[in-house]
């Protein structure tokens, strides 16, 4: 009885999560949920990074995950600030209403 899980299983979970994130970006029209779906996609990429790092026995994959987390934190802060400004100007955050670049 072996205690190993194939690398491809982790990558399959990662692929399914990424696909669900992409589906969320396509079908939802609340920008907050679109943002959360983007986070889901980044997270699935992180899972693939760590699985490959474990498979190759190197630490570089984990370092990359660390950087992805930092960048996504910065991205979320800026994105949520933009959503707040749009809400302040239009009193709604439906993505269908954001069709002009002029505030």
């Amino acid at each position: 009885m072996d205690q190993t899980i194939p690398l491809s299983w982790y990558l399959a979970v990662s692929a399914v999560l990424f696909t669900l994130g992409a589906l969320g970006v396509l079908i939802r029209r609340n920008p907050l949920i679109i943002f959360m779906s983007i986070e889901l996609m980044l997270n699935s990429a992180n899972l693939a990074f760590v699985a490959f790092a474990r498979s190759f026995g190197v630490l570089t994959g984990q370092i990359f995950v660390f950087f992805v987390m930092t960048v996504s934190a910065a991205e979320v802060a800026v994105g949520l600030a933009l959503i707040i400004i749009i809400f302040r100007n239009k009193h709604s955050i439906d993505v269908d209403l954001m069709n002009s670049l002029k505030g």
């Binding site: 194939p6 692929a15 029209r29 907050l32 959360m36 889901l40 790092a53 800026v78 400004i85």
Partner: protein, 174 residues
Amino acid sequence: MNLTIILFIILAAVAVASAVGLLVSRNTVYAALYLVLNFATVAVFYLLLGAPFIALAQVTIYAGAIMVLFLFVIMLLGSEVLPKAKVLPWQRPLAIVLTVILLAEAGLLLFQRLQLTVGLANPDASVNTTAALQDLANTLFNQYLLPFEVTSVLLLVAMVGVIVLTKKEKGEPG
């Protein structure tokens, strides 16, 4: 069926179910909480893969900081439930078809072409020692020192940018 495989299957089911919950929930607060659950299960995956530092960073940064920021904004805007807008009739089926194609491509690549059958054994106790953490720190602060410093500049720029963006201009109402 050994214990590791059972644990993996349960975790994968919870991760996928919480991602689906994120997609279908109408209330944004519920969606955020589903995403927290998803991040927590991915953190357990990291533990299974022998990356305890990344797992804890996942819990503190993602489930802690980022999702609390999301919840703050959701409650600040008071937009928990958006009114039903009129939707393009072909948008949802087309999106589902496209993502099914994407998933089929990924599955084809994974299980037909690459054949990544290498097994990942359970991490032994050595990943929980100080030496493992020292290895990680050595890599981060020697080989990747410059990207690490650039990251600090990135965070500073994001912080200043957010403050400038949300600052009300003088004389502006509201």
